[in-house]
């Protein structure tokens, strides 16, 4: 499925600086071609028209270069010129889907397993998505446990190229008092996404819309925190209604990090925002729902804290203890 120039095989045989240079150019060509297909696919999904200009803007190249690229893609049967702009052929869509699948699986890997901060995940995946060798992407899929969505909540295409619809309803279309959980955070434009990350919003969090003030600011309650979201941010947060309104879902749950020294409590759940390796590690240590934990020792500057779990002493940093929610004893659960 990897695009190569027709004559690149001959070129890659060349050695020395010239061979290296031509291989580099062929690779850059392949990346641009795949980026072009990604752009067309995104337009198709959003029911917008793709044009030479929009492609040039997306790829950061001149209009002339974009036209050459489009002509080459057309010659290879990846796209065709329709009356109202550019359209993908079936072959082109298949390829775009393969790139998208690699991109989102890499994002999942970088965020969950490699612990890369979310705002940097997108750019890194943009580079990795073009290096697809053999069935590496399918292996990655299996290693990650066949995830459905990327860290922002965008659906990941299946190996067969099936892509689910973007889930959820934007917060701007939500009515006051309604509660839901975050299913999708739009990662473009990047500056809005940075604000979302700074507000510590994450897919899986439960959210209740309190009110919308006269400036269009959205006042929401997320796991006990009250936040004000700008309209731009609210438009990029997608929610799905909660099936059952869990009593601890919206009320501020107590967190493990709030436990006083030598106080004991029962774990309710691990926050959905903690995923991948660190979640598995906590579960492996026996921090499963219903387990009794007590805080025993705190280090200098109150971090980390040693907790007694199932008879052993386990030290956790504050960030992790923050993500473990405790059962509210007063409701008698």
């Amino acid at each position: 499925m990897i695009l190569t120039n027709q004559n690149s095989d001959a070129k890659s045989q060349q050695s020395g600086l010239w061979g290296w240079l031509s291989r580099w150019k062929a690779r850059r060509q392949q990346h641009r071609m795949e980026d072009l297909l990604k752009h067309l696919h995104a337009c198709e999904r959003r029911r917008r028209t793709a044009s030479v200009e929009s492609a040039a803007g997306f790829l950061h190249v001149s209009t002339r270069r974009a036209m050459t690229l489009i002509a080459q893609a057309e010659a290879r049967g990846l796209l065709r010129r329709a009356a109202n702009g550019l359209a993908l052929t079936d072959h082109g869509r298949e390829l775009a889907m393969a790139v998208l699948r690699a991109h989102r699986l890499w994002e999942r890997y970088l965020a969950d397993e490699a612990g890369m901060p979310l705002p940097r995940v997108h750019a890194t995946a943009n580079r990795l998505e073009h290096e697809r060798v053999g069935d590496q992407v399918d292996e990655l899929d299996a290693v990650l446990g066949f995830p459905h969505t990327d860290p922002h909540g965008d659906p990941i295409p299946s190996a067969a190229g099936q892509l689910a619809a973007v889930p959820g309803i934007a917060l701007t279309d939500w009515s006051t008092g309604e509660a839901g959980h975050i299913v999708h955070l739009e990662d473009e434009p990047a500056f809005v996404f940075r604000q979302i990350v700074d507000l510590k919003l994450m897919p899986g969090q439960r959210l209740q819309l309190q009110s919308v003030d006269e400036h269009g600011q959205y006042e929401v309650n997320i796991d006990g925190r009250t936040l004000l979201l700008s309209p731009q941010v609210a438009a990029n947060v997608y929610l799905e209604p909660l099936q059952e309104l869990h009593p601890t879902a919206i009320a501020a749950p107590r967190r493990l990090s709030e436990l006083h020294q030598s106080e004991a409590a029962v774990i309710d759940r691990i926050d959905d925002s903690l995923r991948g390796l660190s979640r598995r590690r906590l579960l492996d240590l026996g921090m499963t729902p219903g387990t009794v934990v007590s805080a025993e020792h705190t280090a200098m500057f109150r971090d980390p804290t040693a907790y007694r779990v199932r008879g052993t002493l386990v030290a956790l940093r504050r960030e992790q203890a923050d993500r473990i929610l405790l059962r509210d004893e007063s409701t008698g659960e």
């Binding site: 890369m116 901060p117 959905d272 390796l277 387990t291 020792h297 280090a299 052993t312 940093r317």
Partner: protein, 472 residues
């Protein structure tokens, strides 16, 4: 194969399709439930087959932990323990070292005399006995006693379950520097051997933090460097004080060097995590096992066989060829002046050495000692003596005489030598291990050259500052 399988390929394909379909309908938290039910079953079984003794009112582990993990006492206690180990090593290693040296050099003299009596040519006697053998004898007598004391002490702490508690106490520092809490563990492994410390970095699951731990492991002194540090501390630093205080001062100066090493580790980690390896400090989960009574048999086995003998054999393997090289450098005459090769090279390195408060001989010793840091001191002394072989006089008084009176060493030289020994490039084994662990030439190059640059920079600053204030 197909005959053994109870399913046809068609059925397998159907099964996979079914799995694919069911997977979509799975609840998000099914993995959590899986672990939960495993734990539930395990707890049920354990509850049926085990009986728990009455909870004792007094839990010794908890009392000890209240002191060891205390936010106030934890760190000072750790430093005190480490200082005590160094002090014991310095006090205890002195006498056996001299005994070993006397014995081994006596053998050399006898063997050399026997060779001469048999009519062997002078260069053969020189090469084998005054070159290769003397290199070995030096390494064994200087290294074996400190290791035989240091390693069992360290292993006792390990066996007790103290090391994870060190990681716990140091975690806030590593968190600030963007590293992983377990980096404190891999760092302590580095005190034994940097190559082992680099391998130990496998326990860190996040790739970014593992790389930071690998690249900065070299900043804590391994036992190959302790002989250099302890020797300099005893001969130059401690000697400046009253004899009763000398060993305590020497131990304190080694402890200081270790603390500087830890600070360098933290600063280098912070620098890396703000430049090349940007990212946030990740999760930290650490089990603090209950204290165990140290198993004497295992301590003797792991500390003496696994560590002492292993490190010694490695040192011998590199010291033998190095001894030969040293002998050759000291016995080949070249140039108009007729000086030996090592004198030429040392003379050439001298200006650079003086710029950083050292001298050409020390730099030459470090170049020869790249395969193993253990042989730095012997090499240095041999070139100083210019007798064409390593010195056999290991008494501390005569050593000080040679270094201070004949070669102009000052306190600055001693301090800078200790700093250089602490910060300079890792030995060849560690470099190879870095490459094996990262599989990246670029990171390995950074791990090898970076510390060297730091060592030169720090020594240069210290030397120039000392000159500026009229010291040294």
């Amino acid at each position: 194969m197909t005959q053994l399988s109870p399913f046809t390929s068609h059925e397998v394909a159907d099964l996979l399709d079914e799995a694919q379909r069911v997977r979509g309908s799975l609840d998000r938290g099914f993995r959590d439930h899986l672990v939960e039910s495993i734990y539930h079953d395990a707890a049920a079984i354990a509850g049926r087959v085990t009986r728990r003794g009455k909870a004792a009112g007094f839990d010794l582990d908890r009392v000890i932990d209240r002191i060891v993990l205390s936010p106030v006492l934890g760190l000072p206690l750790m430093l005190l323990l480490l200082g005590l180990i160094f002090w014991t090593t310095i006090i205890g290693a002195n006498y056996p070292s001299q005994m070993l040296a006397t014995g081994l050099f006596w053998i050399e003299a006898q063997a050399a005399a026997m060779f001469e009596a048999m009519g062997a040519p002078w260069w053969l006697t020189g090469f084998i006995w005054h070159g290769v053998y003397r290199g070995l004898a030096w390494v064994i007598s200087v290294m074996l006693p400190p290791m035989a004391i240091f390693f069992p002490c360290f292993t006792i702490l390990e066996d007790l379950g103290y090391l994870p508690r060190v990681a716990y106490n140091l975690d806030w520092l590593f968190k600030k520097s963007g590293g992983h809490g377990k980096q404190a563990l891999t760092m302590s492994m580095g005190f034994g051997c940097n190559a082992a410390g680099v391998i130990a970095c496998r326990v860190i699951d996040s790739p970014r933090e593992r790389l930071i731990a690998i690249l900065t492991n070299n900043f804590v002194p391994c036992n190959g460097r302790y002989p250099t540090l302890i020797l300099i501390a005893m001969v130059i630093v401690g000697a400046g004080f009253a004899p009763t205080a000398a060993s305590a001062i020497a131990a304190a100066s080694v402890l200081m060097v270790v603390v500087i090493g830890v600070i360098a580790t933290l600063l280098a980690s912070a620098l890396l995590s703000h430049t090349l390896l940007k990212g946030q400090a990740s999760a930290f989960t650490l089990e603090l096992p209950s204290y165990r009574r140290p198993n004497i048999g295992r301590i003797i086995y792991t500390s003496l066989i696994d560590r002492t003998i292993f490190v010694l054999l490695r040192a011998i393997a590199t010291a033998a060829p190095a001894g030969a090289v040293i002998w050759l450098l000291g016995n080949i005459h070249a140039g108009a002046s007729g000086g030996t090769l090592d004198q030429h090279v040392a003379g050439f390195l001298d200006p650079l050495g003086h710029l950083i408060g050292l001298d050409g001989v020390i730099l030459l010793a470090y170049i020869i000692a790249i395969p193993a840091n253990e042989i730095v001191v012997p090499t240095m002394l041999m070139v100083y003596m210019s007798t064409g072989m390593m010195t056999e006089d290991v008494s501390h008084d005569s050593l000080r005489q040679v270094l201070v009176e004949q070669h102009g060493w000052t306190m600055l030289t001693a301090i800078n030598l200790m700093l250089f020994s602490l910060l300079h490039n890792p030995c060849a084994t560690t470099i190879i291990t870095m490459w094996k662990e990262t599989r990246s030439l670029r990171w390995t190059a950074l791990g090898a050259v970076g510390p060297l640059v730091v060592a030169f920079a720090v020594c240069f600053i210290v030397a120039q500052a000392a000159h500026l204030f009229g010291l040294g």
